[in-house]
Assembly symmetry: C2
Homo-oligomer: 345 residues x 2
């Protein structure tokens, strides 16, 4: 596959508001989107609906795409992660044209007999990004041997914007002339990057190992690696993944991500979020015995605050609480914290 | 399967010194061992070799066992966790007799065509205890809703004796008249208990969920549940599992396990163990946002100390460092710390 892929992104009946994976890939990936496939919006263009991503035509099916395509990417996910049979004609058309298919569903397209047969017949590859490759194993504690500085986004909770903050920081660092790489750990991040291990899907004993493997692979290609964090260190269900990423990455610097106004764990309303300084202490003291890490900056998701001035105040208060620079990397300028993160190089 | 199983334990060429799983099951399980199978020691008895476990005859093959058997348990593991073909006649003889087979190998006996066929033909079950059942999912944060008090063993490192300490504490608590249950999390613990989830083998996102499922299942059957811990919260490779067990169990009390003289992480000699008080702070501060837990006692493995007086001194120093009662539950009396652990009920 070429470095920059030409993507067709399937988002039937859900573009743009219920197609978060599609938007994430269109916004942050180096790949080019040549068409969005949505039967409800066919005939319009992306910019008729949203200007937060590059423009592209919207078509009703894969076979209506005129341009050359390297991969068909499934950019939506039904609740439960199943495969919607109404997408089958698009997937078969792509495979018959020798075009790769990228999916992050729980249902593995590789295990679908028709798709597997077509892929083999036409020399196309199916990438189920949620399926870990079989070589992932136990961490050896070697992530600190790479040349790159490692920056990890950590969170106060799930769904506070760690992946978005990570992508914004990579882009801002590159704009500042820094050779920055992105290390994905979840399905949308993997689709954006075009590679990566689904750290939340590997065997629990291999959590740190799945991260270490990626860092050892990319560690000498960039000056700074931004690792996408997952969950939160005090999450009742997902803290194991968070802890494995913290120790597996042996991060040098941490960026604490939070959503303004979030007071309890999302979906676990009995569990209150601790104060921000407690998160700073917890992440730093837990990291230290394996590799010293410092919370150097914060990314605050202010989407629930309407007023820009109020959002700016919230960002400043957040920075005071964590003892570093802070911004909302989507609403304001991520460059505001890039210096603090990589300035000491 | 009956509550107390009659076991035949396979330990060819390795009993007793290189058969740790066999010895663990014989020492701590409620099951009765009717025979050990070891072709090198055939004709002798267990007590000719060790008096740390109940006596039993040693035979050369499964077909030489006179008594009735409920299950054949594989009590040894070659490096790598493979299946040794020299064991095949014993496994087939057991299955042909309708006897269940219990194994903790990486090689799943259920996926061996001959074994699967024989098991189906003769109504025997194969339990690959390292294979998680497919229903394990995300934790719901409900372990604190059970009636039982939850005591979790946590460690300064891997292989410091957490499973042994947990089993000794369960036995000592029962001797003190306490209705205590054992919640296993690893393969030997599962073989001892005859049930349980291999927490280190589940999907990383389900680590806490695999523990919670067990606690919800057993939570109303006992007054105190002793949960077997894994790894260490500062282990470069395995901390994810440790963290998932800590939050998934929502433990009330923690017992810190350590091996006297251990100064660096086993197998990761670049990583020094932090001081004992730092472990106490880390475990308690990490647990608190999900469920308050207190390190109330310590279990020190003193097997590397020859002299009993020196071992006693090491135990007392360890207790001082962690701020609670301490013992070596194998060398001395586990009852020494049981009061401190469950005394407040």
């Amino acid at each position: 596959m070429p470095d920059q892929r030409r993507l067709a992104i399937l988002a039937h009946e859900k573009f743009p508001d219920r197609a978060k994976t599609a938007l994430g890939v269109m916004r942050y990936s180096d790949d080019e989107t040549v068409a969005v496939i949505d039967r409800d919006a066919a005939g319009s263009r992306v910019h008729d609906h949203t200007d937060t991503v590059p423009d592209a035509p919207i078509v009703g099916s894969f076979s209506e795409i005129d341009d050359e395509v390297d991969a068909l990417l499934i950019g939506i996910a039904p609740i439960g992660g199943g495969f919607d049979e109404s997408w089958r004609p698009d997937v078969t058309a792509a495979l018959e044209a020798g075009v790769d298919v990228v999916a992050g569903l729980h249902y593995f397209l590789n295990e679908d007999e028709e798709f597997a047969t077509l892929a083999a017949e036409h020399g196309a590859e199916i990438h189920d990004v949620r399926e870990p490759h079989p070589g992932i194993g136990v961490a050896e504690g070697k992530s600190d041997e790479i040349d790159a500085e490692v920056v990890l986004t950590v969170g106060t909770d799930c769904s506070v914007g760690k992946m978005t903050a990570t992508c914004e920081l990579v882009d801002a660092a590159r704009e500042a002339g820094i050779d920055a790489g992105f290390v994905p750990t979840g399905q949308t991040g993997i689709m954006i990057a075009g590679w990566g291990n689904p750290v939340d899907r590997v065997v629990s004993d291999f959590t740190a190992g799945a991260v270490e493997e990626m860092l050892l692979e990319k560690g000498d290609e960039h000056d700074v690696l931004f690792v996408e964090g997952q969950g939160s260190i005090v999450h009742p269900a997902y803290s194991a993944v968070t802890c494995g990423i913290l120790h597996g990455s042996m991060a040098d610097k941490l960026v604490l991500c939070h959503e303004a106004g979030r007071e309890v764990v999302h979906g676990y309303e009995d569990t209150e979020l601790p104060p921000i300084p407690e998160y700073v202490d917890l992440y730093e003291s837990l990291a230290a015995p394996v590799h010293e890490a410092e919370v150097v900056a914060g990314a605050l998701n202010t989407k629930e605050i309407d007023d820009d001035d109020a959002a700016r105040e919230a960002v400043e208060a957040f920075g005071d609480e964590l003892g570093g620079a802070a911004t909302d990397p989507v609403r304001f300028d991520p460059a505001e914290i890039v210096d603090e993160i990589v300035g000491e190089r």
